[in-house]
């Protein structure tokens, strides 16, 4: 078998030598070209029989088709006006025409920015922008000068050598300094407003969970309180604590490192704390706060009842309404039972403590 193969290869090579591969391509319909995008569109219908099934025959047919089309595109590209890029030895570069097809956007379009405070006011009042001339007639210099900028009309403000003291002002006051201060303030105010407008345009996503909505969970409110505490110029260091806020300040490393009281701190305070602790231990108060336990139980049962009502209404409609009479009675009995059950347990538990 090897011998036959070798013969075939030799025969193919011989044929190659005799006939160089042709650059002529025959097509029924002309191709459409968009050389700006390096695009060639072939409107000829492909031979349907050849493309059926997936096999090496199909592959070779497709490859031949691609080869022909690329040949035509390359021929067109070579017809374009070309020039050497960097002098005589540089690469030959073709100048592509403008692309015909407009490709779609890669990224979404930018959202419109919200109007600035002035724009809102102008819209409200109906003030429209009056186009100003860029040149102004300067009487002194007898020529047209810019409105602002280099060689503006009205002279260079920095070179003003006279500043009159107004009628009611203090004669000792430095008018030049006053003018400079006023200018600085104007610039600062402008910058502040610009930044405010910018912030207004960029906000709305970052601080959304912190604005009061009226129905926020306990965790969200806690987060808002914590962020508010730290949002001061000294990052919350001198911020007084809220009435029921715990006294421990939030740690810088997020609670990873343990922090202890100082070794020789206020010993009187330490003594006070220990006495307080002893008083609490000795007072024989039950660990369970009855009112809080009862309220918690009531809240849980209310939430359960509300959830059950919602579900039933969605599922059963009319029939659900009749059945809702009964759960009310059950939960009324359950409230007392729960609190009573809880009260009994810790009393039993505290008496069962181990002897040392």
């Amino acid at each position: 078998m090897a011998a036959v193969r070798v013969e075939e290869v030799l025969a193919a090579a011989a044929q190659e030598q005799q006939q160089p591969r042709s650059v002529q391509v025959e097509k029924e319909l002309e191709l459409e070209f968009d050389l700006g995008n390096l695009l060639a569109l072939d409107p000829n219908p492909p031979p349907a029989a050849a493309l059926r099934g997936a096999g090496p025959r199909r592959e070779s047919q497709l490859r031949a088709l691609a080869r022909d089309n690329v040949q035509l595109l390359a021929a067109r590209l070579w017809e374009l006006p070309a020039e050497r890029a960097d002098g005589a030895a540089g690469p030959l570069v073709a100048r592509l025409p403008e692309p015909i097809f407009r490709l779609p956007r890669e990224k979404p379009p930018p959202r419109p920015r919200p109007p600035t405070r002035w724009e809102q006011f102008a819209r409200l009042k109906g003030i429209r922008r009056r186009k100003r001339t860029s040149l102004v007639w300067d009487e002194q210099a007898k020529e047209w000068r810019r409105r602002w900028g280099y060689r503006r009309a009205g002279g260079d403000p920095a070179r003003a050598w006279l500043a009159e003291v107004p009628a009611g002002a203090d004669p000792e006051e430095d008018q030049f300094a006053k003018l400079r201060r006023a200018k600085r303030e104007r610039v600062a105010r402008n910058e502040l407003n610009r930044l405010r407008n910018l912030a207004r345009a960029h906000r709305s996503a970052a601080a959304a969970p912190l604005h009061p909505t009226g129905h926020q969970s306990r965790q969200e409110l806690g987060l808002a309180a914590r962020v508010a505490r730290v949002s001061t110029a000294s990052l919350g260091r001198f911020q007084p604590r809220l009435p029921k806020e715990p006294a421990e300040p939030p740690s810088r490393d997020g609670g990873k490192k343990r922090r202890f009281q100082p070794l020789l701190g206020d010993l009187a305070a330490e003594r006070g704390r220990q006495l307080e602790l002893l008083r609490g231990m000795n007072s024989k108060k039950p660990a369970l706060d009855i009112t809080r336990a009862v309220n918690k139980q009531l809240r849980e049962e209310d939430a359960e009842a509300a959830a059950a009502k919602g579900k039933k209404r969605a599922q059963r409609g009319k029939r659900g309404r009749r059945q809702q009479q009964r759960p009310g009675k059950r939960s009324g009995g359950g409230k007392k039972g729960g609190a009573a059950r809880r009260q009994q347990q810790p009393a039993g538990g505290s008496s069962r403590r181990k002897k040392a």
Binding site: Q261, L264, L267, Q274, L277, L278, M281
Partner: protein, 133 residues
């Protein structure tokens, strides 16, 4: 060396409370000086302020002990009272006695068995005649 945290203080006071009851206040708040508890290498020391200030300047690795050792925290953070605390607990003790049976026997014995002998002299017997059953 560091002061005790709240949890550690609570554990120590609970243990001490079993022996001296509410008199822990007298240990914490003494009229003759400021004494405090400090933790050093899992041992709890009862030390006066003057001594504490002196010990504060000793490097941690070189410091062996200070004041009186009341006990130590085990690996699982349980507080074990040690005999060196006896001098401080004795004046306020709730009572003294000698164990009549070993610890193991105490557990297996019936409810009415005697486990502690309170050995006292005649004077004490006479004094507390009314309270004795």
């Amino acid at each position: 060396m560091r002061p005790l945290t709240e949890a550690e203080t609570r554990a120590v006071f609970e243990k001490l409370g079993r022996y001296i009851g509410e008199n822990i206040q007298l240990l914490v708040d003494r009229p003759d000086g400021t004494y405090c508890f400090r933790l050093h290498r899992d041992r709890v020391y009862y030390v006066s302020e003057k001594l504490l200030k002196g010990a504060a300047s000793i490097p941690r690795d070189s410091l062996v002990a200070l004041g009186t050792c009341f006990g130590k925290f085990t690996k699982t953070q349980k507080f074990r009272l040690s005999v060196t605390a006896l001098d401080f607990l004795a004046p306020y003790a709730k009572g003294f006695g000698v164990a009549a049976k070993s610890t193991q026997d105490c557990r297996k014995v019936d409810p009415m068995a005697i486990v502690v002998f309170h050995q006292a002299d005649v004077g004490e017997y006479v004094r507390s005649e009314d309270t004795l059953t």
